[in-house]
């Protein structure tokens, strides 16, 4: 069985702040990280391998520096890593990204002579773009079923997959389907392992990150990167915050009296 895990390197965006004086992003000291959801996808891939055997293959599309993210995946225990890197991939929206990823998966399946005995695992969304679109679009490219927002995963006999999917805040749905399948996981599914010393050494000394460009993938350049994208970013801007700010004065008691009278005027109280 082949267990594909799609990962993305992202800026540690939760830490990104705006410099209030210059209104620009403060980037200094912000590391690039493996997208947090994707670490849970890697963990699930490794767990499936431990229970059922198979090879765990990490795939990422990005600039050469994204190799670092794949090395991290290798150090957690992933068997093989592929970096899809080419200037032709730049500017891709989710449609072009999922197409590029699908070409790599199809190529690996063909080379491994695997037809149906595989699973693709993605994190639900990346913290930079937050679209949650690449997973379902990749499933469509591969023409396999998808289950998104997965909380629990179980592989049973005869390639039967049973998952729990989050459905609204108060419900989960238990769904059964068969391999091959693409699932996108939520953070609640597991706790990603930390790479051990041996894992880290192996990731750099024994394992390789295999680079694939558009030619290796046999891609049509019209379907890659910006050319293959239907959407374009027209404009990017820093949001202007509104609000008529009344900072209240006086002792706490006075401030609260004022506040309550304002709220009465506003018909809140």
């Amino acid at each position: 069985m082949l267990i594909f895990v799609c990962i993305k390197q992202v800026p540690g965006v939760a830490e990104v702040k705006i410099d209030p004086k210059t209104n620009t992003l403060v980037r200094e000291g912000i590391p690039s990280i493996v997208n947090p959801h994707d670490k849970h996808a890697i963990e699930l891939g490794l767990t499936i391998k431990e229970q059922h055997g198979g090879d765990v293959i990490a795939i990422s599309m990005g600039p050469p520096q994204a190799e670092q993210a794949l090395r991290e995946a290798l150090s957690m225990g992933v068997d093989k890593a592929y970096l899809l890197s080419d200037r032709a991939f730049a500017g891709a929206d989710t449609l072009a990204t999922s197409h590029t990823l699908s070409l790599a998966i199809k190529k690996i399946l063909k080379e491994s002579k695997v037809k149906n005995d595989y699973i693709v695992i993605c994190g639900t969304q990346a913290i930079d773009g937050d679209t949650a679109q690449v997973g379902p679009e990749l499933a469509e490219e591969l023409n396999i079923p998808q289950i998104t927002y997965v909380l629990k995963f179980e592989l049973k006999e005869k390639n039967t997959v049973v998952v729990e999917r989050a459905f609204r805040s108060e419900e989960v749905v238990i769904i059964e389907t068969k391999l091959p399948v693409l699932i996108s996981v939520l953070k609640e599914i597991n706790k990603p392992r930390f790479p051990g010393a041996k894992g880290i050494v192996d990731a750099y000394e024994k394992k390789k990150v295999i680079y694939l460009n558009s030619e290796d993938l046999g891609a049509d350049k019209a379907e890659l990167g910006l050319n293959g994208s239907m959407t374009e970013v027209w404009k990017i801007f820093v949001p202007i915050r509104k609000g008529s700010h009344v900072i209240l004065n006086g002792t706490i008691e006075e401030m609260i009296q004022d506040l309550c009278s304002y709220l009465k005027d506003d018909k809140i109280l």
Binding site: K17, T22, T24, E137, E170, K235, L259, Y262
Partner: protein
């Protein structure tokens, strides 16, 4: 498309470097240089004070005959026999867009036993409802939704399709988009029509809300967008005469690759932040789970729902369903009280549309005061108890 730097104009000021989210630009010997990390996102173009950076776009050549696509669609979803309210919100916005484009507004429902409910969509601005009726569609089947919707879209060719950004909408929308090769923009907070081209200008937060991006699909149709619940308002002022198109389908369980084994109602206390009139939220400044009691009490005297910033959920002070912000709920209550919340951008994007915002924080420079209507600079542990007493007093005077 590529990014070009005019080395004559470039002053080497580094504004572009500071604004690039990917570290894709660098100043070498006083001139900006594009690096491999560049994703052509365009942040540097906006940031350059001397217009030395140009994003060179290829000429626009239409990928489809756009003139064939007409009309605005809203795809409704439902739960326990009720239409999700985001559908009504999208009808409000959809009506506005349809009026500008001078086209009709259609709502699509896949389900069962909605024969009476669908009649009311005209009150919310819809010109037409397409109701695909099948007993099995009372539940959500990913592939049945995708197959049915792509069929309808190919047949009717709407130019705009709006979908709620819920666990359901975000499951089928990308797959439909891929099958149709249509542009899809996730989690939009603003939708407008571009003059002349009729393009849908889709604005959404990105990088955890630090940056807003306006996205369009200039050369293709349909244009698809998902929108979070709570962003747009329901509008019942523009009633329309409704045309009903009913399509009966005899779908069976076997028609889906997936089988729903069980739906588990977690039956926990229902937290409904999105529909609350008043929300009292706490942040890191509350200090501990124990200290949250005072925030809870304030919520209680106001009849409010309790919320929190991301850190309060991470520290396990509150249940995950109470999180307000980019990765939590987007809310717009009549009154939002932020106690000990500094106002990280990720929080602000989730609550800044509230009608009245009160901020209580020790730090006078906290960004929360930039969106607050009333600010109290002070220690919440002293302020909140007095506020509770005063509210009790005001309320008893009313009785």
């Amino acid at each position: 498309m590529s990014i070009i730097i005019d080395s004559e104009l470039c002053t080497g000021c580094g504004s572009c470097v500071a604004n690039c989210p990917y570290g894709g630009i660098e100043v070498i010997e006083n001139v900006a240089v594009i690096k491999e990390e560049c994703t052509l996102c365009g942040s540097c173009v906006e940031a350059c004070p001397v217009d030395a950076i140009i994003l060179e776009k290829e000429e626009y050549i239409d990928k489809v005959d756009k003139s064939q696509y007409k009309g605005v669609w809203v795809i409704a979803e439902h739960y326990k026999g009720e239409i999700h309210k985001v559908a009504y919100q999208l009808l409000g916005k959809g009506r506005e867009l349809a009026d500008i484009l001078n086209v009709k507004l259609t709502i699509v429902v896949l389900g069962d036993k909605f024969d009476n409910i669908i009649e009311q969509f005209g009150d919310y601005g819809a010109d037409e409802v397409i109701y695909v009726k099948s007993a099995i569609l009372k539940d959500y089947y990913s592939d049945l939704y995708v197959n049915t919707l792509t069929g309808l879209i190919k047949q009717h060719k709407p130019e705009i399709i709006l979908i709620g950004a819920t666990a359901t909408g975000r499951d089928f929308a990308p797959r439909v988009a891929k099958r149709l090769n249509a542009g899809l923009t996730a989690d939009c907070t603003g939708l407008e029509i571009e003059n002349e081209t009729g393009n849908l200008m889709q604005t959404r937060p990105t990088f955890g809300g630090n940056i807003m991006a306006t996205i369009r699909t200039p050369t293709s149709r349909p244009q698809m967008a998902t929108v979070r619940p709570g962003i747009f308002k329901i509008d019942k002022s523009r009633k329309r005469k409704l045309k009903v198109i009913k399509i009966e389908k005899a779908y069976k369980q076997e028609d889906s690759v997936a089988k729903i084994i069980k739906i588990i109602d977690k039956k926990k206390q229902k937290i409904n932040l999105e529909e609350a009139d008043i929300i009292v939220s706490g942040g890191r400044g509350v200090g501990s789970k124990e200290n949250f009691k005072i925030i809870e009490e304030l919520a209680k005297v106001l009849g409010a729902e309790l919320g929190g910033s991301r850190v309060t959920i991470e520290l396990n002070w509150l249940e995950p369903d109470r999180q307000v912000g980019q990765t939590g709920k987007t809310v717009a209550p009549k009154l939002y009280i932020a106690c000990g919340i500094s106002g990280a951008i990720q929080h602000l994007v989730g609550m800044e549309n509230s009608e009245i915002i009160i901020a209580i924080n020790r730090d006078p420079n906290a960004p929360i005061f930039n969106v607050a209507h009333y600010g109290i600079v002070g220690d919440l542990h002293k302020v909140v108890p007095i506020l509770i007493e005063q509210i009790k007093k005001v309320k008893s005077e009313e009785d």
